[in-house]
Symmetry: C2
Subunit: 351 residues, 2 copies
C-alpha cells in the first residue's frame, strides 16, 4: 500500500492537498504565461524554468528509487498520515525560510508579503476535494483491475492532463505537439509492459469508467493548480506555496485525527520511522516544491514530460543499483518517449 500510495502521489505531482488555492474569480482564460512577465524578468524566468524542470525530474526519479529501496529493506509500520503532515510542514517551513531571506534582501513588497485576502483562500477545499474523491476511488478500482493493470491505466493521466490543459487553460498545442503527447502516453505504457499487463484489456466497463474519472480528477487538480499560481505571475512563488501548504497541513492534521489517532497516541507520532522514511519525507517535500515551481515557471505539459522522463531514468538507475533487467519493451518505450520529447520541442517552431 505504501508503494502504491507514494507512486500515486508522485503522478499527481504532490501530496493529498499540497497544491490548493482559492480559485474563485480567477477567469481561467486570462491565465498568465511567461509572455505576461515584464521583459527584464523573462530571462530569469526561462532560467528558473530549466532549473525547476531538471530538479523535478531528478527528485521524481530519486523518489521512485527510495521507494524500491524501502521495499527491499522491508515494510515500515509508520503512519502515512503523519508522514504526509510532516511533508506539508517541511514545505511550509522551507517556503517561509525562502521568504525570510527575500524580505531581508528586498524588503516586504506587495508581491512578497504573506498576508492575503479571505477571497483568495476561501476555495482551497475544492482541489482538496478532487484529490479526496480520486484517492477514495483508488480503493474501489482494485475490484476491477489488478495492481500492474492500474499502473498501466494511470498513463491515461497524460492524455487527461493534455485535454484539460487545452480546455481549461485555453492554451494551444500544435498538431505535432498533440501527436507527441499521444506518443508520450503510448511510450510510457510500452516501457512499463510486463507479462501481466495484458490483463488490463479484460477490464470491465465500470473499471474503465473509474480509471477515466480518476485520470480526469488527477489532470484537473494539476491544471487547477497551474491556473491558481499563474493567476498572479508577479506574486512571489514562496507566498503562493505557503498558502498551498498551510492548507495541506490542516487537511493532513485532520487525517491523522480520523485515521491514525490511536496509533499515534499509543505508539507515538514517529513510530516506525527510519532513515528511509526521513529521506522520503525530505524528497517528497522538495518534489512538491518543484511541482509548484514548474507550475509557476513552466506548465502541466512540462511537468508530465518531466515525470515521464524521470520514470525512464529510474529504470536505468535501478539496473545499476538493484540489478534490475531492462526489457525490450522498455527500450522501445524509451525510444518513443525520447522522440516525443524531441517532437514537443520541434512542434513549437511551427506555431
Amino acid at each position: 500500500m505504501e508503494y502504491r500510495k507514494i507512486k500515486d502521489e508522485d503522478n499527481d505531482g504532490g501530496t493529498l492537498s499540497n497544491d490548493i488555492e482559492n480559485l474563485r474569480g480567477i477567469g481561467f482564460s486570462g491565465v498568465a504565461s511567461v509572455s505576461n512577465v515584464p521583459p527584464r524578468e523573462q530571462a530569469k524566468w526561462k532560467r528558473n524554468r530549466t532549473v525547476v524542470t531538471v530538479a523535478l525530474t531528478f527528485l521524481t526519479s530519486s523518489q521512485a528509487i527510495l521507494i524500491v529501496w524501502s521495499k527491499r529493506a522491508g515494510k515500515y509500520e509508520y503512519s502515512v498520515t503523519t508522514a504526509n503532515f510532516l511533508v506539508e510542514t517541511l514545505k511550509c517551513a522551507l517556503s517561509l525560510a525562502a521568504l525570510a531571506r527575500i524580505w531581508k534582501s528586498e524588503g516586504v513588497t506587495e508581491d512578497n508579503r504573506l498576508s492575503t485576502t479571505l477571497d483568495e483562500v476561501i476555495v482551497y477545499p475544492i482541489p482538496a476535494l478532487l484529490y479526496l474523491v480520486k484517492n477514495l476511488l483508488q480503493y474501489y478500482i482494485f475490484a476491477y483491475v489488478d495492481a500492474p493493470g492500474y499502473q498501466i491505466l494511470k498513463n491515461l493521466n497524460i492524455i487527461s492532463t493534455g485535454v484539460l490543459y487545452r480546455i481549461i487553460l485555453k492554451k494551444k498545442l500544435s498538431d505535432i505537439q498533440w501527436a507527441a503527447f499521444i506518443l508520450l502516453c503510448a511510450g510510457c505504457t510500452t516501457a512499463q509492459l510486463n507479462s501481466r499487463s495484458d490483463h488490463v484489456l479484460q477490464t470491465s466497463l465500470p473499471g474503465w469508467i473509474m480509471a477515466i474519472v480518476m485520470a480526469l480528477l488527477s489532470g484537473f487538480a494539476g491544471v487547477y493548480t497551474e491556473a491558481i499560481i499563474k493567476k498572479r505571475p508577479s506574486r512571489n512563488i514562496n507566498v503562493q506555496n505557503f498558502w498551498l501548504y498551510i492548507s495541506g497541513m490542516a487537511f493532513n492534521a485532520i487525517a491523522i485525527l480520523i485515521q491514525d489517532f490511536d496509533a499515534v497516541m499509543n505508539k507515538g507520532f514517529f513510530h516506525g520511522y527510519s532513515i528511509i522514511t526521513t529521506l522520503m519525507i525530505l524528497n517528497h517535500a522538495l518534489s512538491g516544491i518543484a511541482v509548484s515551481m514548474v507550475m509557476k515557471y513552466a506548465d502541466n505539459i512540462v511537468k508530465v514530460y518531466s515525470t515521464s522522463v524521470a520514470m525512464l531514468l529510474t529504470a536505468v538507475v535501478s539496473v545499476f543499483l538493484f540489478g534490475f533487467n531492462l526489457t525490450l519493451a522498455f527500450f522501445l518505450g524509451a525510444t518513443v518517449v525520447s522522440v516525443s520529447v524531441y517532437l514537443h520541442s520541434a512542434g513549437k517552431l511551427q506555431r
Copy 2:
C-alpha cells in the same frame, strides 16, 4: 521454413531476384521523381501512386493471412523453388499482357518497346547477388537468434531503408519525417512483442552484426531497384518489370536445378501443390508487381509504410478469421505506427 521464407520475401518486397536491372551508369543523384514527369502526366502519377500503395497494403496483408491459413491447413511439401519460378513467370506474363494492350491502343513507341540495350541488362546479377548473400546469411543467423528474435530484428530493415534511401538516392526527409521513421520501427517492433521477444536482447555481437548486414543488404536491394526504375521515368513500367522478372525467372530456374532437381524429376513439378499454394503464387505475383509500381510512382519510404500498415491490418483481420487475441503491446504499437504515418505526412509541409 515455408512461413519464414515467405515472410522474408514479403519484407524484401519481392522474391529472390525480381527487382533487378542494369544499374551501370545510372548516376544515383540524378534519379527522377514525380517532379521530373511532364505536368500533364503528374495528376495521373499521383492517382497511380495512391492506387498502387493501397494495392500493396492489401496484397501484403492478404499474403500474411494466406500464410497463417496455410500453416493451419498443415505443411505443404511443394518445392519452394518451383513456386518462386512460377511467381516470376506469372509476373512476366502479366507484364507482357499489359504491354500487348498498350501496344494495341497506343502503338509501339520509344518508351514502351520491349527491346533494350545490352548496357541496360548486363548488370542485373548485382542486386540478385545481394539477395543471395542475404538469404544465405538467413540460414546462419539462426545459430545466434531464435525465430521470434529474428522477426524483431527484421524491423532494422526499416531504419536501413531510410538511411540508404537518404545516402544513395540523395533524397531528403525532414527532421519530423526522420522522427516518424524511428517511430515506425519502434511501433512495428512493439506491435510484434511477445513473451519470448526479450531473448533478442541476449543476442551476441556476431548475431547483431549479421542482422545489421542483412538489414543493409535488404535495404540496399530495395533502394537499388528504385534507382533503376526511376532512372527512366518516361519508360513504361511494364517494360521495366518485364526485364526485372525475366531475370528472376532465369535465377529461379537455376535454383530448381541446384536445389530441387531430384524432387521435380521424381515427384513432378507441381508435387504438393494445393489451392493455397496457387493462391499464394497469385498473391506473390501481384504483390511483386505492386512493389515495382510503388518504386515507379512512389518510393521505398512509401513501400515501408505500406507493408507496416499491412502488418497491423493482418493482425486485426486475424482476430476475426482465426480468433487471434490482440495484445496491449499490439494496440500501443499500432498507435505509434498511426502517429508515425500522420507525422510522415505532416512533416512534408515543413520542407
